[in-house]
């Protein structure tokens, strides 16, 4: 029972970060029906910004907010220069551009900050909030849950209560019609990218703030697949779906795979493979995911 609880807590803590990255993926998908393969790397770069600012003496939370703003500006620039010139319906060039970004950002971070892992300041304080028997719920996990819920509530407010949020929803629901009613589509999509980058930076920072992890350029490689599986499971255009998906993928990784390991000696290194399988099964059985809107293909 204790073991189960501990695994459940781990699942929630991992799942929350997957949920955050998935939210970033969903934001860009909603805006441009594009999966940003560079999302993980952009988040990693943002986390490095935050770390660097913190090392220069800026208080941690302010450094994090500054890094989020910085990466949002960067992403807005990327959208304007590299993404907007292409036809959103033609996937190959866009996939290639994001893969190019992936290579460049990953390598630049490795050149600037080197490959050696650095410990990231603990955002949420040490110690355990609750201990039930041997199972500990750390403040870190509590912090990540609060962050996810906070981000989602803020996003929901932003999308439903502000003018740009309304424009964003209009564009993601029907690009041409919203252009016809006078919404400036370009800047609205740019706003989506900036928002996604900010959330992605927060996600990466929260992910590496876990005392067991350290920040290094390849830290988000695996996370992207987990997050993509989460986003697909929840439905690629649903924000709350991304959270549900993230928590489910966390459960798969930290509970199901662990029990499979215990009972059938299923290797734990295969948790990534499990995520890929989940991704595949979702796309095969219900491509729209749990909460997404089904796509209609016209000829």
């Amino acid at each position: 029972m204790e073991l189960f609880l501990q695994r459940l807590f781990d699942a929630v803590s991992n799942g929350s970060t997957y949920a955050l990255v998935a939210v970033a993926l969903v934001l860009i998908f909603k805006a441009t029906t594009l999966i940003n393969f560079a999302q993980g790397e952009m988040g990693m770069l943002g986390a490095f910004f935050a770390l660097q600012l913190w090392l220069w003496g800026v208080p941690m939370w302010i450094a994090l907010v500054l890094a989020m703003i910085l990466s949002a500006i960067l992403a807005a620039g990327i959208e304007r220069v590299l993404i907007r010139p292409f036809d959103p319906a033609d996937h190959l060039p866009l996939v290639i551009i994001t893969l190019g970004l992936f290579l460049v950002i990953n390598a630049v971070a490795a050149i600037v900050w080197r490959f050696d892992p650095r410990s990231f300041p603990n955002l949420f304080g040490d110690g355990n909030a609750i201990s039930i028997g041997g199972a500990n719920l750390g403040w870190y996990t509590v912090g990540t849950i609060i962050t996810v819920v906070g981000v989602l509530v803020l996003l929901q407010l932003l999308l439903t209560r502000t003018k740009i949020g309304l424009a964003f929803r209009a564009v993601s629901s029907n690009l041409e019609s919203s252009e016809l009613v006078g919404i400036r589509v370009g800047p609205t999509l740019q706003f989506g990218w900036a928002l996604a980058a900010a959330v992605g930076t927060l996600a990466a920072a929260v992910f590496v703030a876990n005392p067991v992890r350290q920040l290094e350029p390849s830290i988000m490689l695996r996370v992207l697949i987990f997050a993509a599986a989460a986003a697909a499971l929840g439905g690629l255009d649903s924000l709350w779906g991304a959270v549900v998906g993230g928590l489910s993928i966390g459960l798969v990784q930290s509970v199901i795979v662990q029990y499979l390991n215990q009972w059938f000696s299923f290797p734990t290194t295969m948790s990534l493979a499990a995520a890929v399988v989940v991704l595949m099964v979702v796309l095969l059985v219900k491509p729209a995911g749990l909460f997404g809107t089904a796509a209609v293909e016209r000829v």
Partner: protein
């Protein structure tokens, strides 16, 4: 735009043209092999750029893997990007057969090709429903899983885990090839002789040369087979699926069959590339088959030219050489030295990828063809097979221009 020379497809001139260009190409490859068999390097300032057959051999392996991507991405339009999975699979099967079963390395192709084809077909089955970006996501995920797959404890006996599987390749050149004689002859050529080193070729380098020619032969067969596949009925079906899937289905093309075939062929080619890779290096280690390698293959595909066969060769060369040369660049004016250490090759490749997507969507090959079209143009036969006069009048020039995009190219 008028070409300087216009050649009618299928005419005797065309045949001569093909023969001459291919002979020149073969001669060029032959000379390069002998010139750079010893580890040659060019120095510019403080930077050294190595040119040697080791890199060319790697380039051949990459080119075959990218050829596979051409079939599935370039010609069938399916974003199956996890080629490093099959590249690694071929490499590991070959390494295992050579090391533990004492197979000659080229014979392992007999197992690798069907195995990779089969796995490609099986993993391709879900792809019949998963499309576009989603397929890209799944296949990249698969590519990422591969290293942890070979490190599995239950496969330890076959793959030797993270240490890598060492295989004694032992491709000894047969005695009847007079390497020394050829080298002596080349060294005797006035003016150019100096490029071919001096004295007889050491045994180690003879082996390398032999490997290079063998690999080129294997790769050449692959390219030839794929060229024929693309021109055949299944190949036309693939291109139809790429251009308009629904339209292709309506025209009676079996989508499932066509796509599955494309996946199978692509995976098999990935496997062949892997065999060549392991035959060159003598070791298959998990770090050589990461997701980054899969992305490098895509760089090769795009930079070479999507949907062209020669693009695969160019792409293979680029991804084999650029990272190496980038790390050889240790000093550039105005750039602090610190910025030149680390994975600069990936930066260059990534920037190359983005720039080419913007300015030269067809890759290097498209650019080269545009240049070539100014010099030589190959015009298809008029459909009647009649006696159209040789192209020299203004009318015929117009006709040549209008068929520009559909000009059939060889190679």
């Amino acid at each position: 735009m008028n070409a300087r020379w216009t050649i009618l497809a299928g005419s005797p001139q065309h045949r001569t043209y093909k023969l001459v260009t291919w002979t020149l190409f073969a001669l060029f490859v032959f000379l390069v092999a002998f010139a750079y068999v010893d580890v040659g390097s060019i120095s510019i300032g403080d930077n050294t750029y190595n040119i040697s057959l080791i890199r060319l051999n790697k380039a051949v392996a990459f080119a075959v893997a990218i050829l596979g991507l051409q079939v599935v991405v370039g010609y069938t339009g399916q974003l199956a990007l996890g080629q490093s999975f099959f590249f690694g699979m071929g490499a590991y099967i070959a390494a295992w057969l050579v090391a533990d079963k004492d197979w000659p390395v080229l014979l392992t192709l007999l197992i690798v090709i069907p195995a990779c084809f089969l796995v490609g077909v099986i993993l391709g089955l879900p792809a019949l429903r998963i499309k576009g970006l989603y397929l890209a996501l799944v296949t990249l995920g698969m590519a990422q899983v591969f290293p942890s797959l070979v490190k599995l404890e239950s496969l330890q006996d076959y793959t030797n885990g993270s240490g890598g599987k060492i295989a004694d390749i032992g491709l000894e050149p047969p005695g009847w090839i007079p390497f020394d004689g050829i080298a002596e002859f080349l060294q005797g050529i006035p003016l150019l002789g100096g490029y071919f080193g001096d004295g007889p070729i050491p045994e180690k380098q003879e082996e390398r040369l032999w490997k290079f020619f063998l690999f080129m032969l294997v790769a050449g067969i692959c390219f030839w087979l794929v060229a024929n596949l693309i021109k055949s009925r299944p190949g036309r079906a693939m291109r139809a699926v790429r251009d308009n899937e629904t339209g292709a289905a309506v025209s009676g093309i079996d989508l499932a069959q066509t796509k599955t075939l494309a996946f199978g062929v692509a995976s098999a080619l990935g496997g062949v590339g892997g065999v060549i890779y392991v035959a060159e290096l003598g070791i298959a280690s998990p770090d050589d088959f990461t997701q980054l390698v899969a992305i490098n293959f895509i760089v090769g595909l795009v930079v070479g030219g999507v949907g062209t066969l020669s693009g695969a060769a160019v792409g293979g060369l680029i991804i084999a050489i650029v990272p190496d040369w980038a790390s050889g660049t240790q000093s550039v004016a105005f750039i602090p030295e610190r910025w030149l250490q680390g994975p600069t090759g990936s930066v260059v490749l990534g920037i190359l990828l983005i720039i080419l997507t913007f300015f030269l969507a067809g890759g290097v090959v498209a650019g080269a063809r545009r240049l070539k079209a100014r010099i030589v143009q190959i015009v298809p036969q008029p459909p009647s097979g009649g006696s159209r006069p040789p192209v020299s009048t203004a009318v015929a020039d117009d006709a040549a221009d209008s068929t520009d995009s559909s000009t059939v190219e060889v190679g």
